[in-house]
Point group: C2
Chain length 360, copies 2
Amino acid sequence: MASFEVSILGASGGPLDGGNQGVLISTPGNPLNKKYICVDAGSGLRQIASMIVSQNGNVSMGEGCRSDPIESFYERLEEPLHSFVDSRSEIVRGLGPDAMLESNETVMNGALRIFSNMNEYYITHPHLDHIAALVINSPACLATEKVLWGLRTTTEALRKHVFNDILWPNLFAQNKMSLELHTLDDYQSHKVKSIPNWIITPLRVSHGTTVETQLPCLSTIYLIQDKITNNAVAICGDLESDVISRKRWLANAWKHFSATVPLERLKCILIECSCSNATRDEHLYGHLSPNYLIHELKQLSRAYGKPLDGLQVIIMHVKMSVGMRDPRLVILQEIRELAAAQELGDVRFSIALQGYTFVL
Amino acid sequence: MASFEVSILGASGGPLDGGNQGVLISTPGNPLNKKYICVDAGSGLRQIASMIVSQNGNVSMGEGCRSDPIESFYERLEEPLHSFVDSRSEIVRGLGPDAMLESNETVMNGALRIFSNMNEYYITHPHLDHIAALVINSPACLATEKVLWGLRTTTEALRKHVFNDILWPNLFAQNKMSLELHTLDDYQSHKVKSIPNWIITPLRVSHGTTVETQLPCLSTIYLIQDKITNNAVAICGDLESDVISRKRWLANAWKHFSATVPLERLKCILIECSCSNATRDEHLYGHLSPNYLIHELKQLSRAYGKPLDGLQVIIMHVKMSVGMRDPRLVILQEIRELAAAQELGDVRFSIALQGYTFVL
């Protein structure tokens, strides 16, 4: 039985606006009182509404969506879904079968209902493409309690530079809203309040350096573990390889994975790969390219002491560059070729597609 | 001959993310070296790409797009375009006929080409739904010079709270990018560098008060005047009525309009109307409802000393609330009924529709 549904609200790494990184995660089943958490919020309520439309307009399960046309702005205006997704991955259009509209419910009301069942945001870092939707959606939080979680650098940035009555109304003042901001500690596991079976652990990683002062720019990997099944999924914020950062933060994360989750229970890693291998190191700006992604997965394999057979790796945050071929397809091909050459094991690589749900 | 093309990159007032207020403005003709300016940037490069797709996929001019299906999340999933747009307004799908793809050009490259011909942003206020796209698009500014213009409160917020190496890399440091930030003075007209016929004047308006300290929250109307034809168009940021603010800022703006632009040369006002008349004053939060919009247009009519015959008023920034009927249609109906009752003159009211260009 599946343990996680991972709905891709957005996966773009820019410079296109809209459709930026945001992931809704839930457990399959229990449609009447289904709860969700959100990791990052570059996309939000609008995409929930769009996903309700796409699945209600044309319900499609299992194999049914493999030929769906995926929007592309390159050599063709559409590419088939199967060009982006490993043939063994289970993927469904929209939010999945538990998110159907109730009778006489409008799409907007259905989207607000699902949104009100998402009570916890876990933010990887405060760059605008990872938080814009939670800010713009925040007036819709009136009806339900929501908590924003993050490492201190993230929560401080949200308090000081976003909900500061300049960029956005200070919704924490005067208890205007049921919105709270709480800080997590690095490597301290934390109980997900709305989904009691889950614990979530933030692992600090490097996302390059600031431009002006060359200080470290921090980001987070969230490791979500189901205490009942022991299954786990990892959702990564933007990050760079230890080779570039000259820190051991990713090595430590992989060590933590191998110490706390048996490989066969690690259902999936959602990880960025913003740039193709044509990108020079000095233009990575705190991101991964396929060479560095495969290097880091090799480190993960070493931490486990075996090949990563059966692991799903879903690629997020591809940057849309110039060129004839869709960069997502370029990067996926580079990754698959390198993985085969490096004997990484039978890893299933897919691209995170906005509007679809991976069932893990 | 038309003087302005006003392309709606986004018009939503939230709480849906994506499709937020952003308007691209240009002069008709001159497709080879067409220049644009952007007023607000809640939507940007992605919508330019989508508009290229929509107009290249199915070119439609004049009457041709009146039956286009417009996405709605309420009683129907689509409403016809003519339900939103005055029958006498000239509207075209996409960016207009001058924005066709060149041969062998991908949509992404075409979007970046048009983006590179937009060299000036004029921002009404720094709320995130009006600036998110310019931030997320900024890595695509590498190739071309762009200037961000705004009143001091806007440019200070962008420098201190956005491009601060916390919410976003400080792209102004070390001359990393060809991106500059410059301050405009209230009521001082300013020459648009990239479109030499145009002058633009920022007029300060009130957008409610801050939550914590109850200080005024400022916004801007941009009045764009063509020096050759004397035609003008006004693009408003979020704003509230003088009745609510108890200031005379809108009265002053209307006085400036009537003193500098003959009514028959004022081609259009794009103005917000976020909330329906069902909204209580204390829940307007610095926005207009139809009652207050019509009150202010009546003040404009008084400033001109005559009815506003022939004026186009395009409604921006409608908030998507719960309910069965699309709030844009509710608000448009309320506005038209009030305008008729108040003898405002023969004003043409339309809703700003994302993905379409008004030819004025």
